[in-house]
Symmetry: C2
Subunit: 138 residues, 2 copies
């Protein structure tokens, strides 16, 4: 019908640290794709940051990358399928930067890292879309 | 720091049909998980509605479900891994309903169907989070 009746809401965009998911599982580049898939399923999460021995971010593997490994029959090691150029944000970045980065790079999550590239959390399109529902944020 | 400086924006939430992705690939329940993975990768999309011979929605398979199939070594047929109880919306539903359904069910996409269960499009957390960036929508 033509009575579209859009709902008006005021949304105050907070900082990344206010909305990021803090408990985020990570994995290592040496594990198999099947191992990474098991971690993704256990946590009911789509994105798995890949870290080195010092727990610094070196890549990301998503359920989509697991599908890619299956499609290409390359399931031996994450190194072949993970994304190494990871787009990230800092905890004190405004959420609207995260929104713009997701849109610009056509991705669905950004690891949140500190100055030492240690993973503090992750911000996903799902976290962000929830802000639309929540209405005014303090 | 304490100077959080949240950005205030007015977002008018439109209808599902205004923001849904219209070109959506679908698949059949009889194909293998590897075939579904290839379709997911080809279209660079995370969610694949599963339809019957009359093109009516009967399930959904996502990159996450492909990971599940890999984790459980069950890659023979979609029927084992697809989700059959699909949460959907209609084209004339308000976007805030879609947001609430995604949040409530912890999912990242909703097929948009007509009264005959034919798939018209899909609305994803990624579509929705873009609304935050776009600012006021007419
Ligand atoms: C519970 S989510 C967890 C991962 C992540 N939150 C996401 O949405 O991709 C993954 C499961 O949700 C299912 N799913 C996705 N969209 C759905 C929908 N519209 N209705 C019902 N189940 C859905 C998938 O089939 C998959 O088994």
């Amino acid at each position: 019908t033509s009575s579209a009746r859009p709902m008006k809401e005021t949304v105050a965009l907070p900082l990344v640290k206010d909305i990021m998911v803090k408990k985020v599982a990570t994995t290592r580049a040496g594990v198999s794709v099947d191992d990474a898939a098991r971690t993704i399923i256990k946590d009911r999460f789509n994105h798995l940051p890949v870290v080195d021995d010092e727990k610094r971010l070196i890549g990301i593997i998503t359920a989509w990358d697991v599908s890619k490994a299956v499609a290409l029959s390359k399931r031996d090691s994450l190194d072949m399928v993970m994304t190494k150029n990871v787009v990230t944000v800092g905890p004190d970045d405004p959420v609207d930067l995260a929104v713009r980065l997701l849109e610009k790079h056509n991705i669905s999550a950004l690891p949140v890292i500190d100055h030492d590239r240690k993973v503090l959390g992750i911000v996903t399109a799902e976290c962000l879309s929830k802000l639309l529902a929540r209405g005014p944020v303090q």
